[in-house]
Symmetry: C2
Subunit: 351 residues, 2 copies
Amino acid sequence: MQPSEAVKKKIDKAILEFLDRRIEQAAKVSPASELLMKNIKEFSLRRGKRIRPLFVVYGFKCFAGGGEDKIIKASIATELLHDYLLIHDDIMDDSDLRRGLPTFHKVYEKIYAEQSVSDPATYAENSAILAGDILSAISPEPILNSDFPEGLKIRAVKKFNETNCQTGFGQELDVLLELNENAKAEDVDLVHTLKTAKYTVESPLHIGAILAGATKEQLKILSDYAIPAGRAFQIQDDLLGVFGSEEKVGKPVDSDLKEGKKTLLTVHALEKASPEQKKRLHEILGNQGISMKDVEDARKIIEETGSLEHSKKLAKQLANQALEIAKASDFNQEGKDFLISIADKLVNRED
Amino acid sequence: MQPSEAVKKKIDKAILEFLDRRIEQAAKVSPASELLMKNIKEFSLRRGKRIRPLFVVYGFKCFAGGGEDKIIKASIATELLHDYLLIHDDIMDDSDLRRGLPTFHKVYEKIYAEQSVSDPATYAENSAILAGDILSAISPEPILNSDFPEGLKIRAVKKFNETNCQTGFGQELDVLLELNENAKAEDVDLVHTLKTAKYTVESPLHIGAILAGATKEQLKILSDYAIPAGRAFQIQDDLLGVFGSEEKVGKPVDSDLKEGKKTLLTVHALEKASPEQKKRLHEILGNQGISMKDVEDARKIIEETGSLEHSKKLAKQLANQALEIAKASDFNQEGKDFLISIADKLVNRED
């Protein structure tokens, strides 16, 4: 078992304990509050990589020896934040499945339908908005209650809240990107930066580092690592979304195309395409009724326009950039090793 | 001008300055982020009583001399929280108007319709969910950035976040109350306690008092004042909703009845009603097509069952209870006077 696997297990345990305490408190308010909190727990404990709490823990370890237990307890704030954002995102995207199970509003739709509530879908959506709101409200608590100096906790919570805000801006841009026929690579890149690089990598690393008392200069080095690493991850994810296998990616190979998801891959292809290729690609993107032949045509255009190569190259270049930063850093070994191992995986992900 | 009027003006100014700074920051992210923040500002600065920030300021003044400027800056957190909750509540209730103007999602529906977006209502709802989420995320910032000792700020923010969570539970119960044919007075009372007494009165008073360094015992006295005052206010509000004039209340006299709003007034009347009265009341409550004759019939049943008298008496009793607590307190004069003046208004509201 890798060291980070052991940490992940402890993170899961901390989430479980936190939410069990919250269920107890909610039960004192009303049975409906208890039920809502129980469903939040069920949703939160579904399988997940816990990558954000792991970044908090190893961001901390870059600058501190010891204190693992207390940073693990604080780190789960980022996972609670993530769960709230997923619950609300799933409402906005009208998604049915999340982590292989019904989305939060779909869980409640079933509950209300069984109670013969008229219009269970609307009531369920309201419950999911509220569940997300409640989870957002309590998400900073693990940091506020943690055993770190008060001044550091305040700095960490401010960073945390700011990330919550910026991710909201990123989601708004992502939604608007769908509507934008002329989206450019830089538009896609801004969404990647806000919704993946900053949200998933930089902010968790910073929160951990802040709680370890890191300086501004040290935070800057973490940013130099986090932004390219996060962008590389997202580009690769979008690549796998079109060229990966369903088995490997966990979703149908045509789902990104059907959704008309604006990715570097598709936006770059549209920029470089001949008028004919452009027309064909527009027919396919966002079309719910596409066949395997259409998928293959889209793949071919993405290859022929050099877009596949461009994305692969850029992802590898960004991953290498992150790797070099991690290698050159003078961080504590355990933290440094984790950053290197993540960047290493990104460099070799496509091979 | 009353002293609290001058404070209210300063609160409005602090909200304006805070959101202007936020607009500047959002403009650096993207034009869409800037637009969202501008609309949040427009929504937040609509006319309002600013009762929650006022309670923060006077809760503080109960225990501290001086420091008015810094408590005013911190107090606006409660108004930002309120605005976010209204934006989300209006989505859930599918309301068109708020403070005499279109609700947040209706503002965005117009924006998207003008851009010829297909399905502008859905996109608008998503933008309103995100606007609320963003506002919720940044709402604790005025406390975190305030010029109080770090330990007190952490205590105040924990109270603030907990209130956000409990109000969510209250809203969930309120939504479910609509569905409950057999709602009891105690069910209505729990919603009043969570959504009005704790949220609007107790929590703001506590946040101010905590920042002044109040003891647990002092907070307890504020609770003894806040809970009856908040309940009295809500009962009177529900009374005016059925028996007030449109001119005085600012909404049609039949709107609570049409909505089928579960209030102490209606729930108590249904409990005491004869089978015939009960049948008639059920015909009227929640019926969108009621006439002025129906309104008069409902009023008559509420009077004949003793429900009107019961609500009036209870509200006055609760308001007097709050008044006595305020009068008996040894709080600083300025804070004490404010609490007394509010309770006084509640005692005499119906006369």
